[in-house]
């Protein structure tokens, strides 16, 4: 019984294949170029040594696998085209070849060699990146992952903030890298800023380490990369790299205790009397809760809710009123304040620059 008699025209098939591949490559490269914005956290636009090293390694790996792909795919295409059953075939079975020890040995040994080389290269990069010792002038930052926000502490500077990591630029001549200590307050999260380093999980009851040395001032984005519950998608990260001077200024501003403006006294007292202080810290006031983000310099941050929304008086007001309306599942309860109280508290928090 004969089946599957359709044959593709040989010449046309070759041309079509070639054209398709070319078109595909052109479209792909144009689109990649067009779609990346300055905010795109591409692993191929590194800004710090670990990310540079990984990109270097990636290109080596692409080279090796690319060659393997071309050879094997090429052989497959060749076999499929050359050994198709032709029209008018006599129906006899071709010569049967059961195996060949030499060929099979060769195509086992060569991959083993490739694997050995690839492993040696890989091991070198593993130890180089993970084994970098911490120099004395490094900035130390502790990151604590929470559901669903990032606590950021600078133990030696006495600064506690949230969701936005500020670091000084690191000059390759006089490096001032930032060494991160990563911990979790609840479940497993993962700290990932693709342009600065590979990711590292933050795991309860375990302390992990990661280092970055951004070479240029600027902004970089990332987010949590380990599923951690309802708002895993809403745990964004911003890294701001400052020049040495700007970083010093930022640090000094953050070290100052909370502002005490006269005009918002009513809101300040109201805040101190509500359950807000059970979860939040505002340095210099009775509020010293640790369950939620430190609010001492809340208005120095661009976003609230770990990047979910811009930080403006209007959005802040909406957040305080009902966080779940802004970020469904947020663990901060709706405060259910009266309009008047809400205005007062908002005005107070807006003053915390």
């Amino acid at each position: 019984m004969t089946v599957g008699m359709q044959q593709l025209p040989r010449r046309g098939y070759r041309h079509a294949l070639f054209g398709a591949v070319l078109a595909g490559l052109m479209i792909a490269s144009t689109a990649v170029g067009a779609s990346t914005t300055t905010e795109t956290p591409s692993i191929f636009v590194p800004a710090s040594t670990p990310a540079f090293a990984i990109r270097e390694l990636a290109l080596i790996v692409f080279g090796i696998t690319g060659v393997i792909f071309l050879v094997v795919a090429g052989l497959t295409v060749y076999a499929l085209m050359r050994f198709r059953r032709r029209r008018g075939d006599d129906g006899r079975d071709p010569p049967q070849v059961y195996g060949s020890l030499q060929i099979e040995l060769a195509w086992t040994v060569v991959p083993v060699l490739i694997v050995v080389v690839l492993f040696l290269v890989t091991a070198r990069y593993i130890f180089a990146i993970e084994g970098r010792p911490q120099p004395p002038q490094a900035l130390e930052v502790t990151i604590v992952g929470h559901q669903w926000w990032w606590e950021i502490r600078y133990p030696k500077l006495g600064i506690v903030t949230a969701n936005e990591l500020h670091v000084p630029v690191s000059d390759p001549e006089r490096p001032t890298p930032t060494f991160l200590t990563l911990q979790s307050a609840d479940v497993i999260h993962s700290f990932w800023i693709p342009q600065l380093a590979g990711k590292m999980d933050v795991i309860p009851n375990k302390t992990n380490r990661l280092w970055i040395d951004p070479r240029k001032p600027g902004g970089y984005v990332g987010q949590c990369a380990e599923y951690c519950g309802l708002q895993h998608a809403g745990m964004l990260l911003i890294v701001k790299v400052h020049s040495r001077e700007d970083f010093a200024k930022w640090a000094a501003a953050q070290q100052a205790p909370a502002r005490e403006e006269a005009g918002v006294r009513a809101g300040r007292e109201l805040f101190a009397s509500l359950s807000c202080i059970n979860c939040h810290t505002i340095r210099g006031t009775p509020a010293n809760g640790v369950f939620g983000p430190d609010l001492t310099h809340l208005m120095s941050r661009w976003t609230i809710g770990a990047g979910v929304i811009q930080n403006t008086p209007e959005t802040l007001r909406a957040w305080i009123d009902d966080p779940a309306a802004v970020k469904p599942g947020a663990l901060m309860p709706a405060m259910k304040l009266s309009r008047d109280d809400l205005d007062k508290v908002t005005a107070y928090l807006v003053s915390l620059r």
Partner: protein, 556 residues
């Protein structure tokens, strides 16, 4: 009297529907159980496919509100869990069930009642898992369907962080499915080792049978660790144990080690039978004997063994330390060797052949390219520092869908088109088969080839939406556009099956002119498989019959 007219007269005297149904429910016949396994698996494939389609709709652009966050998290959990445990496993063991006795010249499996037990327990587990959609608040809002990810990392799964019953549905349903799978694996090992027909030495078994015995050994070794971890989770959640309770000093990573010790060999359990399908189909449609049978079999054993040492390549980013990172990178790269060797064996088979592009062969051809891609992205992921960027991103999602769809599902499709005539006695439509193939190839590659890109642009997985300013939108849109093409392919596939069951042309015993024992009996085979079990003296008994002047035995 010919067999066809025999079965025709039987069909005229068809028993009433209830009797037929009862026959299926109480059956211990490996062929019927095999069919039930595969059909159930395909039904779950459709369900999980719909879950994926909903997710791709939600992610087609940033900030969409197609489904709420909680529902999205349930969707990816149920999608992954269903596909691995309720689609992949039953389909490969279902084919094993149907084909192994026929291929080795036996009349059934070693323990037919245990076989039936295995199937019904799997079906119960699958229904229990899906019942979770109805629990809690009922269907709207997804009820108590689990939202913990298919690998359910602790401590997220502890009661403190996931109250309610959703996690328990996941845990108990899979515990039950696991027991059934172990039972089936024991059955397969026993059958293959002790019930081969006359002349059927281990070295003459079809490659597919070798793959089944390999995955059965793997199952026996690595599924109990998952069961153990699930018992531990059960104890944590119900009687206050502290296996994964970090507040009591426990290790959050312990779950990961136990799970992935199961989880990585599990994907070889899924994939090896796919290799078995390719190893049966490619030779027949190239009209050439499989090139290098002994090395291919050794490669399978090698994959099974080495595959058990690679598990922590899923944990490169947990901070295991450089030595462990390097060790697991090494073992992962090592397992690529026997895997790659198989591709060369298939190429060597096609080389010098006369290739017929019937539908089974079309799917195998696409499999070759797609599996090559999957293997190469796997090598990339084995390079631990590169993994530190790619892990938990859409690059990984693209990689494993290339393995599970591009390689496994494509070989499953090939297997269905190839053995449907044997199982039903009718041919599937080649025309519809081609439509299915081309639509699915186009849709699959559009979705999953492109999906590597957002991963490399920093997009993590398991997020229900993403910011608008990260350059991910256009890629997600293209990825989502591939979905309707795949759906269309599946629809045509279903139509093909339904139509051919009724009006497909009769197949005869051996429509493909194949060479292994299952083609030596009628289509469909009688309940006792063979009237007289043939005596074999080589790997291709039917080739020997057709070529008495040049039997295989001289060359093996």
């Amino acid at each position: 009297m010919s067999v066809l007219s025999e079965t025709a007269s039987i069909r005229d005297a068809r028993p009433p529907l209830l009797v037929s149904l009862n026959d299926w429910v109480v059956t211990v016949d490996h062929k019927r159980l095999g069919i039930m396994y595969v059909v159930s698996g395909l039904v779950f494939l459709v369900i999980a496919g719909l879950e994926a389609s909903a997710m791709r709709l939600q992610l087609a652009w940033s900030g969409l509100h197609v489904v709420p966050p909680g529902t999205f998290n349930q969707l990816f959990t149920m999608h992954g869990t269903t596909m691995v445990f309720l689609v992949g496993i039953p389909i490969v063991f279902g084919f094993g069930n149907y084909l192994v006795p026929l291929m080795i010249g036996a009349r059934d499996l070693a323990f037919p009642r245990l076989n039936a037990f295995g199937f019904w327990v799997f079906l119960f587990g699958g229904l229990l898992l899906h019942f979770s959609f109805l629990g809690g608040e009922g269907l709207y809002g997804g009820g108590s369907a689990p939202a913990i990810g298919w690998f359910a990392y602790a401590p997220l799964t502890e009661r403190a962080f996931t109250p309610g019953n959703a996690t328990d549905y996941w845990n108990l349903a899979l515990l039950v499915v696991g027991v059934g799978t172990i039972a089936t694996a024991v059955n397969m090992i026993t059958t293959i080792l002790t019930m081969r027909g006359p002349g059927m030495t281990l070295g003459r078994m079809p490659v597919f049978v070798w793959e089944i015995v390999t995955i059965s050994w793997l199952t026996v070794l690595i599924l109990p660790p998952l069961t153990a971890a699930q018992i531990m989770l059960l104890l944590d959640r119900f009687v206050g144990a502290h296996f994964f309770d970090t507040q009591a000093g426990a290790s959050a990573l312990m779950w990961q080690h136990f799970f992935w010790f199961f989880g990585h060999p599990e994907v070889y359990i899924l994939m090896l039978p796919g290799f078995g399908f390719a190893s049966e189909i490619i030779p027949v449609f190239s009209r050439k004997v499989l090139f290098g049978y002994p090395t291919l079999v050794a490669a399978s054993a090698g994959i099974g063994l080495v595959g058990m040492t690679t598990w922590a390549h899923h944990m490169f980013v947990v901070g295991m330390g450089s030595t462990l990172n390097a060790a697991f990178a090494a073992s992962t790269m090592l397992v690529a060797v026997p895997t790659g060797v198989k591709i060369f064996n298939w190429l060597g088979t096609m080389y010098g052949g006369k290739i017929r592009f019937a539908t089974p062969m079309l799917f195998c051809c696409a499999f070759l390219f797609q599996f090559l891609c999957a293997g190469l992205t796997g090598i990339m992921l084995a390079v631990a520092p590169f993994n530190w960027q790619l892990s938990d991103s859409y690059f990984v999602v693209a990689h494993f869908h290339f393995v599970l769809i591009g390689a496994l599902l494509f070989t499953i499709f090939a297997a269905i088109y190839y053995w449907f005539p044997k199982v039903t006695g009718r041919m599937l439509s080649e025309r519809l088969g081609r439509w299915h193939f081309w639509l699915f190839v186009a849709g699959f590659n559009l979705t999953f080839l492109v999906m590597h890109i957002p991963g490399m642009l920093g997009m993590p997985r398991r997020i229900y939406t993403y910011p608008a300013d990260r350059g991910w939108e256009i890629w997600n849109l293209v990825v989502s556009v591939g979905v309707p093409l795949q759906i269309a392919g599946i629809l045509i596939f279903v139509v093909n099956i339904v139509r051919s069951l009724r009006q497909g042309p009769p197949a005869g015993d051996n429509p493909w002119d194949a060479w292994t024992l299952e083609w030596a009996t009628t289509s469909p085979p009688p309940p006792y498989n063979f009237e007289v079990v043939p005596v074999v003296s080589s790997r291709r008994p039917l080739w020997d019959l057709k070529h008495p002047d040049d039997p295989d035995g001289l060359h093996e």
